[in-house]
Point group: C2
Chain length 625, copies 2
């Protein structure tokens, strides 16, 4: 049977294959934050003609069902179908990267004193042709030339001998070597006939528990060429790392969990590769940053011991892996550098964050916090670094929130609620894109705004009589953030409870760690905030919510996704890779889960802004107003 | 359908599967020097009940056909069969190695000043258990322990991380590391839980053009534990290296040719592994020696450029390969060390031979000659080494000779012909084994004996009226070496022509190379002879034949298969591996194929003993007698 899209494109399908799978087969990737379980409601398509057997209607409104909406992951065609894919369901690459972002990244790299010196290096070599008088073997000829050029030793993995003779002769003894430099020696990762110096690209990856972000980078200029991101489809094995480890350990699903994220990376890779008409040989190397569990699952390493006392990861500094070993769709010898980790619950994403903020170079004491699915905090300076993890949950990335979504086109990223009139103004990411959901920064704005407008009480309960935007929905009370054509975007009371638990964990982490090292918030000169909230995080509102401590606003700096920035830096610079390894070795780790004071702090944080109002004098004053 | 053996063993078969293949499937390997083409006649079996469709009857006598003999490679069962396998058809391991041989090898190793220091090394480590206070990652724990023991750096290929956590904990933090030492660093090739120090074995291989020999060696004691050998089944792609290169190049059969020899090695490996009840993890490393083409084909490297001017091999010093890369049935990470080669036509087998004779250490000028399928000659001393190759052909290994066979049980290795009575006495390899064929040393004895008895003239023609053992057979005149029960062993006139061409090429090689370096036979203090002739080579008879120069008998030393001896030495000693690489670098190569004087010498050698009788005064005197 056939599925025809409103664009006219036709694809083959069978009754046993979901619409989502058929689309994927044809290279059309939909957003699917639950990994295809039929629960997140993000892979909606509209069946405009024909019948599909729709196994789940979760997150679909009555109106949508009436209009023919189905969830592509759990809808199976009963015959030929004509379908329409709403824009917000399609996973896309950004295509044209905002020039500013690429410039900022390059400027950051240059500010560290590093030059462009990527993980992989290419050499073009014109070898002298073999003759009866100069009849050394092909491999010796290659090594002799490297020696003559002062490049030193060359390690040639056995598999490259297979076609060496042909490759060397194909373009009249001109070849291009793609190499990596390890252990004081170059190692071949690919050999091409002729001059293949350019184009060459590298891929930086942030493997988040909730989100996977890919940067396609020009290794010659350092330019950020494209960005793509998607949900980590491991989500179908659980929202957080612990549930996934349990699945890997107790349900023997390690291999499936590993393949889920590899498949996500391959999807993103397909998108950028086809978007720029590259062949896969154009990609020379990968750098990945993720928390320790994500790194191990990406690499296919059993994470069991991460969860069991005494919480030991398999490695903190990883040997290079090769694309072929992991099933990444690139040349099998393309090297994959994994960011060094610190401990079971402070991983490579945090090392990447410190690297990006340069906290490890400064004399003053700074805090770095990465609010992703977990919430890791680093405090320190150029002398010492101390870290901890507090389990914040993935709600700021849109997961577990009814209309939550990542900070991409269509996300409400800014919400302004007038305390008097209770009017709501929103700002949506993208040019003229209708709102499709709400991202982390929007949620913080909305909840802080509702609180100051009296729509929400200190315990996080909605007040029915204050605003007519509060109504009773299927999950209890909910606040309508945006309403149009019957497709409302709401925050429900369970959503808000989720957010309060998350912000309480984050604040408790700050407080506990600071207390452990014997400092107070006054000693901290700078707070770097990373996370997937959106382009901007309203610091004042995050303080109002009690997520951030009340400190002078100028001390805060919102950095966005620092994991991908660190990954970008290491992709391009040997100096950065060496710094990353130093950071991972130098950082100590404090286990908060065994700390009583952390639990106390957490319980105190389950109010807006906090049980201890003395710590939030400014918010207290505003409340009075 | 079923095949039942006279031993009672029953195996399943189908009409489309040859008896040879069904036997192989069941772990019963037959000799098959033509690689299953139905032409060598060595895989005979007797069908005692039932019918088989026999596609080739080559090399089967009328009597044999009457008795039910078929060639297993081209016989296909039409129904259930009862078969009997003659002992000489079965490929066997020696099982119990003559103690003397193992002692001789060990003595040779010790005489070089080398200690037992195998390619691979195992360490047993009791690691401290991980605790909350000592919570570094598993990999760092391992590396820390190696550092603490002063063993230095450890390279851990990524794939070993996959099960590291489990392996380390399985036997209470005791593990055994199997490693190789390369580039000043240990590299892991296997990790076991608990104490797996012993047993551990290595495999030395001689990959000959005609014959593959395997030594199973105890890496702890250096003891030779078992020996197995078979024909190289690449023979079905041609008898000599050139024909095989043509097949690889022009018929795109490289992969099939590669797999043929890998399959031979796997057959031999199966035999020794089952013979000693080993599991495949007990084998830690392989060393292979072969000529350059055999080495490249074993490694799966395109040999095209070896045959084309300017005759360039892909490599002379090879990176380590791993069993998994080549399809060798052992742990996938088991390293395979390939002997360094010198040039396209002087390979690792010759370097191994020099290493075994110690020629490269001596002040006096010596000659080393390896008479296998090709015939390579080295002349030199501790200062210089010069080599050349003369195409002698595989007849001394039994190939291309009607009743030729390798020097194994059942081979006639010694033939004495009384010049007066023309009576013939033979000696057969093995205890009370009936003669099954004739090996290289037997052929030389027989031809020299026939010549001195006047049964053969100087041009190699049989004289019908001199002995009643000369008769007319299907290939023309033939000499009956042994007769019993209608299964005669003969040397035919085409066999003898083959032998004369081979000996002429060898002598021409000697003479040309010596002339090139400006020496005469008188300057040579020692001639080391290697090859697969049999246990003993009668020097006097080889001189009579004109294969060896007439020199004092004491200057000759017959060494047997030096390629496998060199392979054994390198398997056990780092010093030997280093010497082998030095020899390969130091040796220069002379291309005889472009030399006019070689062709002249060759033509002069097509007589017994030689056209120039002045070079053979002793033989001349004997002829007069």
């Amino acid at each position: 049977m056939k599925i025809t899209l409103s664009t006219g494109q036709t694809l083959e399908s069978t009754s046993g294959t979901s619409i989502l799978a058929s689309l994927k087969e044809a290279g059309i990737f939909l957003t699917s934050s639950c990994g295809g379980k039929g629960v997140c409601g993000k892979c909606k398509v509209i069946v405009t003609s024909g019948d599909a057997d729709s196994k789940s209607k979760m997150k679909l409104s009555r109106e949508e069902i009436g209009q023919g909406y189905v969830l592509a992951c759990t809808a199976f065609p009963s015959g030929d179908l004509l379908i329409d894919i709403p824009k917000e369901s399609i996973l896309t690459v950004e295509g044209k990267v905002v020039t500013g972002r690429s410039k900022d990244l390059l400027a950051l790299l240059q500010s560290t004193g590093a030059t462009i010196d990527p993980l992989s290096e290419r050499f073009i070599m014109q070898l002298p042709a073999a003759t009866l008088d100069d009849n050394i073997s092909d491999l010796e000829r290659l090594k002799r030339e490297l020696m003559a050029r002062g490049l030193g030793c060359l390690r040639v993995p056995f598999r490259f001998l297979t076609n060496l003779a042909q490759t060397m002769r194909k373009e009249n003894w001109q070849i291009t070597l793609s190499t990596i430099h390890t252990d004081e020696c170059y190692e071949i990762i690919n050999i091409f006939a002729g001059d293949q110096k350019a184009p060459r690209y590298g891929v930086a990856l942030d493997i988040g528990t909730t989100t996977v972000v890919l940067y396609l980078v020009d290794l010659t200029s350092g330019e950020l060429v494209d960005v793509a991101s998607t949900y980590n489809s491991q989500i179908r094995f659980g929202d957080d790392v612990i549930t996934r480890i349990v699945h890997a350990t107790e349900h023997k699903e390690l291999n499936n969990i590993h393949r889920a994220v590899i498949s996500d990376v391959n999807d993103l890779l397909s998108l950028v590769v086809s978007n720029h008409d590259l062949n896969s040989d154009a990609i020379d190397c990968f750098v990945i940053a993720g928390n320790t569990t994500m790194t191990q699952l990406f690499l296919g390493l059993d994470p069991t011991t991460i969860r069991e006392d005494p919480y030991i990861p398999t490695a903190n500094i990883f040997p290079l892996a090769y694309a072929g070993e992991l099933g990444i769709r690139s040349h099998r010898s393309t090297p994959i550098y994994s960011f060094p980790c610190v401990a079971s619950y402070v991983g490579g994403d945090i090392v990447a964050g410190v690297l990006a903020t340069r906290l490890h170079e400064k004399e003053e004491i700074s805090i770095f916090i990465d609010i992703g699915t977990n919430g890791e905090i680093v405090i320190g300076n150029s002398e010492w670094l101390m870290s901890a993890a507090c389990s914040a949950g993935p709600c700021f990335e849109g997961s577990g929130i009814k209309h939550g979504m990542r900070a991409t086109d269509g996300a409400i990223e800014d919400v302004l609620i007038d305390p008097e009139s209770k009017d709501v103004q929103i700002k949506v990411i993208g040019d003229n894109v209708p709102p499709a959901g709400i991202c982390g920064s929007g949620m913080i704005d909305a909840v802080a705004g509702m609180f100051l407008a009296g729509i929400l009480d200190q315990k996080g309960k909605l007040q029915e009589d204050v605003s007519d935007r509060v109504r009773r929905g299927e999950d209890g009370l909910e606040f309508v953030v945006h309403s149009s054509d019957g497709r409302d975007i709401v925050l429900t009371e369970p959503d808000i409870e989720n957010l309060i638990r998350a912000k309480a964990a984050i604040y408790a982490g700050f407080a506990t760690l600071l207390h452990e090292v014997g400092f107070t918030f006054d000693d901290v000169q700078k707070v770097y905030i990373a996370g997937g909230f959106g382009k901007f995080l309203d610091i004042e509102k995050a303080i109002t919510l009690g997520m951030l401590p009340e400190m002078p606003k100028g001390k805060f700096e919102y950095m966005g996704n620092t994991s991908i920035v660190g990954s970008y830096l290491c992709l391009l610079s040997r100096k950065m890779r060496s710094e990353a390894e130093d950071i991972s070795q130098k950082m100590t780790y404090l286990e908060l889960s065994v700390s009583n004071s952390f639990m106390d702090e957490y319980m105190s944080g389950l109010f807006i802004p906090h049980t201890n109002m003395e710590a939030f004098p400014g918010v207290k004053a505003m409340m009075k107003k």
